[in-house]
């Protein structure tokens, strides 16, 4: 039977009862045990209406995987929250999606410092136990049919927005990626990326779809990754540029360990510097390195087959299966080879848009500019990424059309960081930009005009660390007398970036 809901993946014949599904530390969980735990958790979520949102605030763990499938089995929508977010961001997500339940553990519950205590109608389940009185049943906001998940991600402006993914979206993304990576039942996949990230979630889904094994690991050092590969004879590893930096520059065991089990590596969430590609290819010559590109709004869009990497290491590849990718010029033409345009995506992973934000959705999920003859235009995703296609149909990423920053695989809105800077009272004006960084993809750099009698740098940084998630804190705060502006009087972000990149090149 073809699965139509996410939890149907667990019912496939491939997920034989005795096979190991998940490994966390010393704990192994078979598919039979995983199904039991999912059923038990789904029972605890009973009483939710179809499409009700279940926020999940857990570290990478078996419990987190269970909660994801249990939400689906209960007919609910799961909203995974990155476990390093500060109480303020967690509250934003829980409020924005109107969550009816939060699944968390004692550690993360305590770290919220009561930030959600005044939410009426929110059930808080801590380590499986209900910590709330029967909540007053507030009016439930209906969700689109088939809504499976809402993943929060930043844009160029405002607070993080929730991208709505249908069951069909997630199942298509699973099928497509499993297909081109050739994932099968004997694969042992290492999961180091957060499951709140569509690309990280994909390792869980592709493994379960094939009855394969997923090893969950929170890594801090490059050797953590090396040890996990050795101990579990890992065959597949998915990472973002930061992970490859750790592995190639800060993992003394990399050159000494037997990593011959590794069959493939995939990168997404930012461009990989050529130097890092070279180091990975030399250290792990038997492993295929697969470059991927995508945005949560359409899951993945392109992939570069590993046979092409030595020829075009700076390419993002071409369309993933079942999908068409094209670049559109500002006047709405299909860009010719060599001509820059905005990447558009047509296919089964185009999301349902943003939760509760029809205006933003209309800018990103647009009617197909080239609908098949005689048919109504379906939705396509307008990525906002500037790309160029070569004569053989391979794309290259040129940059964003807006000020959105991509760092460590995360998207960061400059506005959110600027707001936190201004809250300190230490600045009259602040602009936040992304500068190229070999390790991080981009690094966050703040340019600010100090206020009279403002607080010192130490106090400013303390406030930023309280207010922002770790990956959103600027790496440096540069003080200037005034910010450059465009003729329209807006801050000239392009000039701020260009000046600093030029200065770094001159000093290199």
């Amino acid at each position: 039977m073809t699965p139509t809901r996410l939890h149907h993946l667990l019912d496939a014949a491939a997920c034989a009862p005795g096979r190991i599904a998940l490994v966390e530390g010393d704990e192994t969980v078979t598919y039979a045990a995983l199904r039991d735990r999912v059923a038990a958790m789904a029972g605890r979520l009973a009483g939710l209406a179809q499409g009700d949102r279940v926020a999940i605030l857990l570290p990478k763990s078996v419990s987190e995987c269970v909660a994801i499938f249990a939400a689906s089995a209960a007919g609910a929508t799961f909203v995974p929250i990155h476990p390093a977010l500060r109480p303020r961001q967690v509250r934003h997500i829980v409020e924005d999606c109107g969550a009816r339940a939060l699944v968390t553990d004692a550690h993360h519950h305590a770290a919220l410092e009561g930030a959600l205590d005044d939410r009426s109608g929110l059930r808080i389940l801590v380590d499986g136990e209900d910590h709330t009185e029967r909540p007053g049943a507030g009016p439930a906001q209906p969700a689109p049919r088939d809504l499976a998940a809402i993943l929060y991600t930043s844009g160029s402006t405002g607070l993080p927005k929730g991208v709505m993914l249908s069951h069909a979206n997630l199942l298509a993304g699973t099928r497509i990626v499993r297909g081109y990576l050739g994932i099968g039942p004997e694969d042992r996949i290492l999961s180091v990326l957060p499951l709140s990230f569509d690309y990280g979630l994909n390792q869980l889904l592709t493994a379960v779809e094939q009855g394969a094994r997923l090893v969950l690991r929170n890594v801090r050092l490059g050797d953590d990754v090396v040890r996990a590969i050795e101990e579990h004879r890992i065959t597949g590893l998915a990472g973002v540029p930061t992970l490859w930096t750790l592995l190639t520059r800060a993992a003394p065991r990399l050159g000494r360990a037997d990593l011959s089990s590794l069959r493939y590596l995939t990168n997404s969430g930012g461009t990989l510097p050529l130097d890092t590609i070279g180091r990975l290819r030399r250290a792990l010559p038997q492993a295929d390195l697969v470059l991927m590109y995508g945005l949560t709004e359409a899951f993945r869009s392109t992939w570069l087959p590993p046979s092409e990497i030595d020829r075009r290491p700076d390419s993002i590849g071409r369309a993933i299966p079942e999908t068409e990718i094209f670049a559109l010029t500002p006047d709405g033409r299909r860009a010719r080879p060599g001509e820059p345009g905005i990447l558009h995506h047509r296919g089964p992973t185009v999301s349902l848009g943003y939760w509760n934000r029809p205006g933003d959705t209309a800018r990103v999920i647009v009617p197909d500019p080239f609908p098949p003859a005689g048919r109504e235009p379906g939705p396509v995703c307008r990525s906002g990424d500037l790309v160029v296609e070569d004569a053989e149909g391979f794309f290259r990423f040129l940059g964003r059309e807006d000020a959105m920053i991509k760092t460590q695989g995360f998207r960061v809105s400059p506005g959110e960081v600027e707001a936190a800077l201004m809250e300190t009272g230490a600045f009259r004006a602040a602009a936040v930009i992304g500068l190229p960084d070999a390790g991080l993809g981009q690094r966050i750099h703040a340019v600010a005009v100090p206020a009279e009698g403002g607080r010192g740098t130490g106090e400013v940084l303390r406030h930023l660390r309280e207010a922002l998630a770790p990956h959103c804190v600027p790496r440096a705060i540069e003080e200037v007398a005034a910010l450059p502006t465009t003729p329209n009087g807006k801050v000239d972000y392009k000039r701020l970036v260009a000046e600093r990149v030029a200065a770094e090149l001159a000093n290199a």
């Binding site: 050092l221 050797d223 003394p252 660390r465």
Partner: protein, 85 residues
């Protein structure tokens, strides 16, 4: 030895405190593991090593990131202390 490494240890604890604004005093000690605790994430550890390298004039290279050096704050303090000029 323990005495001379104590300034490195203080620098490590201060770095962790700045990175974790909500941390209650005393919850991270010399015995805290940097591998298994939540004191620092991977970028935090890279930053810490750069910071210690500059502060104490120690060359931080690939081998500095041996897991054994991070089994506790004190182990790392001794590693840096042994190498300072």
């Amino acid at each position: 030895m323990v005495q001379s490494a104590s300034d490195v240890r203080q620098a490590i604890l201060a770095f962790i405190a700045v990175r974790n604004p909500g941390l209650s005093p005393g919850s991270v000690t010399g015995e805290t593991s940097l591998v298994t605790s939540d004191a620092l994430d991977s970028i935090g550890i890279l930053d810490l090593m750069l910071d210690l390298g500059e502060r104490f004039g120690v060359e931080v290279d690939e081998d500095s990131f041996d897991l054994a050096n991070f089994s506790s704050v004190d182990t790392l303090a001794h590693y840096i202390d042994d190498r300072r000029s």
